[in-house]
């Protein structure tokens, strides 16, 4: 029984990271509808920016977090303005956008490695003395609890944004039909730019939190992104609640899956789940 509870806890912990990444990804995907490979590297940039502000410049931790998130957001915004927007204007195919985002991911990852070397670093100061909390006989660390809380906070914040503000309504309109939205006079490109900023800032935050929980390395983004994408699809692409739900569902399936099979099949299990959903419920859990 204790093992079962611990597995549930493990699933929730893993799921919260996936959910957080899915939030940022889903938010952007809803508006842009293309698979942005560079989303992962933005998370890495968030982690490294925090590292720079907090550990190298020695700023206050909370200030460093805010600065790092803004920085990540700006990078995402920049990618849109410099690369994706021009491509959209030329009516480039989704594949061209994919390849361009591949180029961006490759270049940015390499720049991080040049600036910070490829060494794996942990962002938390004390390795062995993290605060632990006992929950129903299982253990969770302070950082993991924070990730969980942050995920739900951001979910609520985004929901408020999307459903209670003008800006949010415009985003939803763009998700439904960008051309029509543009025709009725809304500056879709400006809004998409903002969407990139917010989504990338969330990714940056995810990068920082993962950095505290395990650590950062320049290539950490791709794996986070793939899991975030799986979570989004399972939950319902473009639907932010869906992404969160999908994240937890993925966490559960992975952890209970490797309980039955062994650890080295974890990625295969995650993708098998994806394929199962694509076959039987491609709209995801949330979408009808």
């Amino acid at each position: 029984m204790a093992i079962f509870l611990q597995l549930i806890l493990n699933s929730i912990i893993a799921g919260s990271v996936y959910a957080l990444v899915a939030l940022g990804f889903n938010f952007i995907y809803g508006a842009t509808k293309f698979f942005n490979l560079a989303h992962g590297v933005v998370a890495a940039i968030g982690g490294y920016a925090f590292f720079y502000f907090a550990r190298i410049l020695g700023l206050n931790i909370y200030l460093a977090v805010v600065l790092a998130i803004i920085f990540a957001g700006l990078i995402g915004y920049g990618l849109d303005k410099l690369i994706y927007l021009p491509l959209r204007k030329r009516k480039a195919s989704n594949m061209a956008l994919l390849v361009a985002s591949l180029g961006a991911m490759t270049a940015l990852q390499a720049i991080i490695a040049i600036l910070f070397t490829s060494q794996f670093r942990t962002l938390s100061q004390n390795i062995s003395t993290q605060k632990l909390f006992e929950v129903f006989g299982g253990v969770i660390t302070q950082t993991q609890l924070i990730i969980l809380l942050v995920t739900f906070l951001i979910l609520s914040a985004l929901a408020l944004l999307l459903y209670k503000t003008h800006f949010g309504r415009a985003i939803r309109a763009i998700s439904d039909d960008e051309e029509t939205t543009r025709i009725i006079g809304i500056n879709t490109n400006k809004i998409i730019g903002h969407v990139f900023f917010i989504g990338s800032a969330i990714a940056g935050l995810a990068g920082i939190l993962v950095g505290f929980d395990t650590g950062i390395e320049p290539t950490m983004g791709l794996n986070l992104l793939l899991k975030g994408v799986i979570a989004s699809i399972i939950g319902g692409v473009g639907n932010i609640c869906g992404g969160v739900l999908g994240g937890f569902f993925l966490g559960f399936v992975e952890n209970f899956g490797i309980w039955k099979i062994s650890g080295e099949w974890k990625d295969a299990i995650a993708f098998a789940l994806l394929i199962a959903f694509l076959i039987f419920r491609p709209r995801g859990i949330m979408n009808k």
């Binding site: 509808k33 480039a92 594949m95 061209a96 490759t106 270049a107 720049i111 040049i114 099949w265 098998a272």
Partner: protein
Amino acid sequence: MEYLIHLAILFAIYATLGLSLNLVVGYTGLLSVTHAAFYGVGAYATAILLTKTGVGFFTSVIFGIVIAITISFFIGVVLSKFKGDYYALGTFGFNTIVFAVFLNWQNLTRGPLGIPGISRPEFFGIDFTNNFTFLILSLVFLSLLYFVSRFIAGSSFGRVLKAIREDETAIAVFGYHTLYFKLAIFVISAAMAAVTGSLFASYITFIDPSGFRLMESVFILAIIVLGGLANLRGSILGAFFIILLPEILRFVGFPADIAAQMRQVVYGMILILLMLYRPQGLVGEYKL
């Protein structure tokens, strides 16, 4: 000279991979990112048969083709239900799963240890351990598969494929069972990739799972997007460019400690710039 011969062999191999993928992606419009899986199947078939049994190279190629056809048939059937971006994600999933099999089915593939000591082909007493003769063999394969591809593309079968790409529903209305066509080209393309894999295994004489992960499929996709979709000469050009570029960059005098990373930065930027200024590829006629 040996260096150039080596690069030429790699070029021939990747050009063949590009051709086979172009049939599926460029002509039929199916965004498949799992080509490395079939490439790997051929490579492993040859590796295992050549090292563990007395079977010759060409027999192993046949085996590779048979296995690739079986697996791709099954994968193709499942994938046929997916559309657009979901199709691509489904292929991501299959690539990851096949990679996991290469890595974890250790009794068969020796997992991460890989399979060393694969011999070069032997027939008619020609010495294929000489790279130059191997190059000739590779170019023969390339030409053969090029003509096969050209034949397919130019035939009425090829015209149906292009029609499927343009508007699948329309052509279905005319009574074409589009499923059979999509499946057929997917399987043919997989068989071609497997043959290339066999060639690769015999050339490098050592195979391990690392050459067949998801990023390899993305790499092959990049070749045909760069060269130009639905243009066979474009795939050859794309392969030439993509193999050559990193090697040329080896000679550019970057300072030693950041040289490799700088090359990645340049490589990524070139991808971006190409997409921005020539999204249909170098000689492409078509954008999805």
